[in-house]
Amino acid sequence: MAIATPPTPAAAERMERLEQIWESRPGILGWLTTTDHKRIGLLYFWTTLALFGAGGAEALLIRTQLAQPNQHVVSPQTFDELFSMHGITMIFFFIIPMTTGAFGNYLLPLLLGARDMAFPRMNALSYWIFLASAIFIYTSLFIGKAPNAGWFNYVPLASKQFNPGHNIDFYCLGIIFNSIASTLTAGQFIVTIFKSRAPGMSLNRMPLFCFAMLAASFGLLFALPALSADTTFLFLDRNVGTHFFDASHGGSALLWQHLFWIFGHPEVYILIVPAFGIATSIIPAFTQRRLVAFPLVAVAELLVVFVGFGVWAHHMYAVGMTTISMIFFAAATAMVVIPSTIQVFAWCMSFITGFARFKTPLLFIAGFIFMFVTGGLTGIMFVAIPFDQQVTDTYFIVAHFHYIIFGAAVFPIFGGMYYWFPKVTGKLYFERPGQISFWIIFVGTNLLFFPMHIVGLLGMTRRVSTYPSGLGWTAYNLAETIGGFVTLAGILLLLGNLFVSYFRGPPAGPDPWHGPTLEWTTSSPPPEYDFAVIPRVTSAYANWDPVDREADRLNLADGLLMLEHGHEQPTVTPVDGRLAEIAQMPHESPWPPVLALALALVFTMLLIGLYGVAGIMGLVCLLALAGWHSQEPPE
């Protein structure tokens, strides 16, 4: 059981002191200067949710344009900007920041038994940079200069010669800007996972959610530089006159594709692995069973990202590579299947051998398994190079990756929203509308995405702004559009349910699901210090260890392990989780938003070509960093 109320007056006094130490400033200023991982997680959540709305609106406009042949709902220019922004938004501005920024930030310290991230101010910085980059790239849409060469933005279509406007400059700078935020988050997570666990939580006692976040963070850390290099080259080609991608001056258009997909394929796993983490949190809670084959699953989560770095060229089978290099990448693509199948069957066996309760979160996970397997099976088909060469760049591919990205990333996000709603708000959601929302979304997405397989095999290429009648595509396209709006209805019901539950829901208590991990040991919503007592951990399912929780209660009564003298957080040795030191954590800083603002000015000046001013703004950034470090923690 969770510690919600102090057992003794002395404990109450100490908790009072913790409260004072960790309390945030009131009002807007409190949110601007916050370093609380929960507040940052919520900021990420609301921002990415808004961006999900934008990306969804773009998708529905695309679907409306394609509902019938030869329509003119939007012009070809607008259509190109819509599908480019849809991809960019969903990948860079919704799924990554939602799974890592929102879920990761809010939950990681709670699952690790920590009071905050390893670098709380850097955490705030990553949010403010993310927000600034989102505003930056969406400005382009409002001034009619949005990126228009697709999310993978192939050159030479994206070069100055064929795309003279600022559209692609927004893309280059927006992506680099955004990847700074993602790199900060990734580094943050890696160090937090290695250093900020509750003492006693050796790596083999770490919940699978944290392994998933670790895998995704390593993926981001090592994949993003390739994208940054690529977009830097393109920016230089467009604005300085270099020739990285210019075949007439010794450059290569394929260099863009190689560098892009060296980032782009690991990216796919970066999108779905945190969602696997959400799934592996929900399954034990609703089957009341430790996940089958825990070590295999943990290794598989890391391995899937690792092998994912070796498969990039399978996006390029149609560019005329030599057969031998294609076969190499096909073999790597085949290997990446194994870690995925391990996880799928570990989940399925947990469902069967546990005591499954199909409440809304578990329904979403079951739906996720169905969608992921469907998308995975079409993914396996791309091991077959000739078939890939036939269907690449058609709607078959569009179907495949939407099953993966919507099915395997967004379904767990929805499931996770329901699952942790009681923890974040202290209220229970309404179960019946929750289940209905699942079924609507499940039917809607399958109606939306399944026909895309067929229409792709019938020859419909992707990214066409319209299509002729008479090729047998019309009925499927109409079905997809209807599916899109059904999905919208389901999502609105989901959000409406959570909105109403926030005000009208019954109180949840600290642990409504008998959840397996440490976040369920503290009150709902968690206090600003997360845990009154640094929890004792002897397994990966800490909340199911009654002896340890009893020990926590005794420690609270005795005032032990409360660290109520300052912003204190134990740090541990990376592997076996022995106590290393009691670290003083920074608290509240105005510098992260200031630095993000200065960086936003740097990127704006680069965009409008005032490189000198950009340099001056760069100096301002350095000064802000110096100001940041003038705040030292007390000795």
Binding site: A229, L236, D237, F244, G250, S252, L561
Partner: protein, 193 residues
């Protein structure tokens, strides 16, 4: 009293060192991508350097490289001195390193603009990657110089645990920058082979 028996000596690396490791991993990957690009372009071009660009000079860059890499020694020693609490020694070692690093940087900036007069960055793909690699490396040296300046400013007001960790992290940064510089210069000089 916390109830924890906190180890007396430093156990493992401080969090600041870990943070710096992340930065280094990210930057090293970026340089890896640049170097990969260099060879990708090279192996699809019959003559290298193409377009009548002269081969890079050998002796001066190697001497300068040796000068820069030699600052690894005072930076490492400074980290050790900081850990054992010798403030004066730490300041002196960092100052020595800073002087050499600044001299290196000043020369390289001069040399960079000098080379730009001989062949422009817009000449062809070789000149593009050549200057990008070199410029990125110099930028990292400049960042290190600024780090050291900032450190000396901080250390003027004595040691704190935070500052000791900063010395360790920045010494680690300089080691990485020196290794990256070896890789970059090695790559650029490989055009002579």
């Amino acid at each position: 009293m916390s109830g924890y028996s906190v180890p007396q000596s430093q156990v493992g690396r401080p969090t600041a060192w870990w943070g710096m490791t992340i930065l280094i991993a990210s930057e090293a990957t970026l340089f890896g991508t640049f170097i990969g690009t260099y060879y990708y372009l090279r192996f699809k071009t019959p003559t290298w350097p193409p377009g009548g660009i002269p081969e890079p000079k050998l002796v001066v860059p190697l001497v300068m490289l040796a000068v820069l890499v030699s600052t690894t020694v005072p930076m490492r020693l400074a980290a050790t001195a900081a850990r054992t609490g010798r403030l004066a020694a730490t300041r002196l070692l960092i100052a020595v390193a800073l002087v050499v690093q600044s001299g290196y940087f000043a020369y390289e900036v001069h040399d960079f603009s000098d080379q730009l007069h001989r062949f422009d960055i817009t000449r062809n793909a070789y000149s593009s990657i050549y200057y990008t690699l070199l410029g990125a490396d110099h930028a990292h040296v400049l960042l290190g110089v600024l780090f050291n300046l900032w450190l000396l400013g901080k250390l003027a007001r004595g040691f704190t645990r935070y500052r000791i960790h900063a010395v360790q992290a920045i010494a680690w940064y300089w080691l990485a920058v020196n290794v990256l510089t070896i890789a970059v210069i090695g790559t650029l000089l490989s055009a002579r082979a």
